[in-house]
């Protein structure tokens, strides 16, 4: 839930990076954190397992400055992607305002992408949220693998699998190298703020 404090003139929105395990959600945030280290004054919090899988969530808050007199704080979260952490994923989704779905273009991950998105829909239902009514941005990550031997899915397939009904803005990306990470984020923030701007500005 977006929090607007008229007394302190602050707006806080929560954007969750969701997707199958090892898809690049944490990498997205790490890239953002690294790239904008100077502007992002707070530390990124990562609750990880010993083998670097997200255990609870990654959390990166930052202020983007003022829009129409309000201080806008963006809170980025990632969820743990592994199947066993669905309960935790549900917890992290609480109060979400915008979603970035990070899908893995590797062929072997095709079903996981679809399952993850379906589960996202269900998880949101527990909070009476409708995925179709939310600001969603799709990211098809690891596109850099097309230069390798690893078989990947085409963007057409990705769109068909994941976006044919949702019709969300989509970005090919390479989170490791930073390609389209920021445009994805900007789009998400923009859409999320737009979805509440009637109440704000």
């Amino acid at each position: 839930m977006a929090l607007i404090n008229v007394k302190t003139k602050e707006v806080q929105i929560k954007i969750v990076y969701y997707g199958p395990g090892r898809g690049g959600k944490t990498t997205n945030l790490e890239y953002i954190n690294e790239k904008y280290r100077d502007q992002i004054k707070t530390e990124m919090v990562s609750l990880k397992t010993q083998d670097d899988r997200t255990l609870f969530f990654d959390f990166l808050p930052f202020d983007v400055g003022q829009i129409k007199g309000f201080d806008i704080t963006i809170q980025l979260y990632t969820v743990p992607g592994q199947v066993k952490y669905n309960a935790t994923r549900r917890l992290v989704l609480r109060g979400v305002d915008g979603i970035v779905f990070v899908a893995d273009v590797q062929k072997e991950q095709r079903k996981k992408n679809i399952d993850s998105l379906n589960q996202l829909y269900e998880n949101l239902e527990t909070y009476n949220l409708d995925l179709f009514n939310m600001p969603v941005v799709m990211q098809y990550n690891k596109i850099d693998l097309k230069r390798s031997d690893i078989p990947i899915l085409s963007s057409k397939t990705m769109q068909k699998d994941l976006n044919s009904l949702l019709q969300a803005p989509a970005f090919e990306a390479s989170a490791l190298k930073g390609g389209n990470v920021i445009p994805t984020l900007k789009k998400s923030i923009s859409m999320t703020l737009a979805s509440i701007q009637d109440q704000l500005f």
């Binding site: 839930m1 977006a2 829909y121 939310m134 085409s154 699998d161 900007k186 737009a194 009637d198 109440q199």
Partner: protein, 511 residues
């Protein structure tokens, strides 16, 4: 004789276990013997000691001093001797009595100087203090009261111990009364007094003087503590006046449920990479997989050709041109909606904190959002590929002027008209054109009067227009021919500058 035999039996039983019943019986028997030997001072004295001991045992029971039962045994034995031996001389009897009195006194001293407190007692007290430390509730306070009261009874005759316990008891009671309003150091004070008490118990070799010193410190602290007790009343500033509260609409009541996306709405896909095009579609991508969310939404939309409206982040000007062609096909948001958003003068709500779930998916973000994000994310070095994406995007938007642009607006129309007019070389010499230019400028100035940046730029345009207007015609024409060639060398020609300025205004307005 019977009474004595019974007495011995009872004492034997007391040796095993000291029970209340046994003590009662014991005391009865003592009374009986007392009546029986009323005139016999020796026996009476014996019985007195026994009576005292029995009272002590009645109170202490199994916690009695270790020497009490042996002493009792000895007394009973000697009493038996005195009673049963007919040949016992008076002097011998007196001697035996004196011995026993000595032993009795010794026992008494022992009891007096070393109050018998078991580990259980200490632990009980510690437990109730800790439980109050963790939770101040009726249960914990009751337990505390029970244990401390018990101990106070036990140590009634031992001043030092009694005083410690009294302090502990008082503090506990005070905390119980005050509950949440108790001073914050009350429990830590309680704990420290207990620790001192425990110390003097566990150090029997401590001298009386030392014990007294520790106690005096705690007494002084106790008095200080009492004096610190706050007397002021707590006042809370709860504002009861709700009449001033502005009414605000309940959460979510204003959020429209978004309908399904229109069938012809575009889903832009931003691609990434240097090479054009995409990897060849995998022939082995099977269609057997049901797309995600297939069962979640009954869609009346037909299958779409998703590749239709791709535009890509490319690096060559040719790509930008291609993209521009693509983008021309993209229908913008409904103009009236965009207009409403820009022109609405909704007041920022003066309420406190609001929470709500964003659900309005139809909104185009207001320009300020985009501007702020651009500023924030574009602070990095120019080699950031994101920036080039932004530049190309704004250039594409520039090129889209004539096709109507994403945000039609009366001001925008005026701006476009102004730009077109200024671009025309003869306009500055043509009176009607000049008038139109000046009119447009003043219209825009009026519209943007609250925006100092824009008004400033308009003034610059106006001044430049005047300067150029006053140039002699021939000179201007000559200059024109040379400026066309020298365009590359003289980056700041008025024409380019004007265009650049307009571009900047456009950028502020439309990004």
């Amino acid at each position: 004789m019977n009474s004595l035999a019974e007495l011995k039996n009872i004492v034997a039983s007391l040796n095993e276990n000291i029970t209340g019943d046994d003590i009662t019986t014991f005391q009865k028997l003592i009374s009986q013997l007392g009546q029986q030997y009323e005139g016999n001072t020796n026996v009476t004295t014996f019985l007195k000691m026994m009576r005292s001991l029995s009272k002590y045992l009645a109170f202490k029971k199994n916690n009695a001093h270790a020497d009490s039962i042996p002493a009792l045994n000895s007394i009973v034995m000697q009493l038996e001797k005195v009673i049963n031996d007919p040949d016992l001389k008076e002097d011998d009897a007196s001697q035996i009595l004196s011995d026993e009195i000595e032993k009795y006194k010794t026992l008494k001293n022992k009891i007096a100087s070393k109050p018998s407190i078991t580990d259980n007692d200490i632990n009980d007290l510690k437990a109730v203090i800790l439980s109050v430390d963790w939770e101040i509730s009726d249960v914990t306070l009751l337990n505390f009261e029970t244990v401390t009261t018990n101990l106070l009874k036990q140590f009634k005759n031992y001043k030092i111990h009694y005083t410690f316990l009294k302090i502990i008891h008082s503090i506990g009671r005070y905390i119980g009364r005050q509950k949440a309003n108790a001073p914050t150091d009350s429990i830590s004070f309680l704990r420290s007094v207990f620790e001192n008490f425990e110390l003097i118990i566990l150090t029997p070799e401590m001298t009386f003087k030392e014990k007294k010193q520790i106690l005096e410190t705690d007494i002084n602290r106790f008095y200080e503590f009492k004096q610190k007790i706050p007397r002021q009343k707590k006042t809370t500033n709860l504002k009861d006046d709700t009449s001033e509260d502005e009414s605000f609409s309940p959460a979510l009541s204003h959020i429209k449920k978004t309908g399904m996306a229109a069938a012809d709405e575009v889903v832009p896909l931003t691609t990434l990479g240097e090479s054009e095009g995409f990897p060849l579609e995998e022939k082995t991508d099977s269609d057997k997989m049901a797309p995600a969310l297939a069962d979640k939404k009954s869609s009346s939309m037909g299958p779409r050709d998703i590749m239709d409206d791709l535009f890509s982040v490319k690096e060559s000007p040719a790509d930008e041109l291609l993209d521009a062609i693509h983008l021309q096909d993209i229908p913008g948001q409904s103009p009236s909606q965009a207009l409403n958003m820009l022109n609405q003068t909704r007041n920022i709500p003066s309420d406190g904190v609001k929470n709500f779930t964003p659900q309005n998916m139809d909104n185009e973000p207001i320009p300020e959002i985009g501007n702020r994000l651009d500023e924030f994310f574009n602070l990095e070095a120019p080699e950031d590929s994101d920036e080039s994406f932004e530049e190309s995007l704004s250039k594409r938007e520039d090129k889209n002027d004539d096709s109507g642009g994403p945000l039609p607006d009366p001001d925008f129309d005026i701006l476009t008209r102004l730009k077109t007019t200024i671009k025309t070389p003869e306009s500055l010499q043509d009176k009607s054109s000049l008038m139109s230019i000046n009119q447009d400028i003043s219209l825009l100035e009026k519209s943007w009067q609250n925006d100092p940046e824009k008004t400033c730029l308009l003034q610059i345009i106006s001044s430049l227009t005047n300067v150029l207007k006053n140039q002699p015609e021939t000179v201007l024409q000559e200059n024109k021919s040379t400026t066309n060639e020298a365009d590359e060398n003289i980056p700041d020609t008025p024409q380019e500058e004007t265009v650049g300025v307009l571009g900047k205004i456009k950028g502020m307005f439309t990004s």
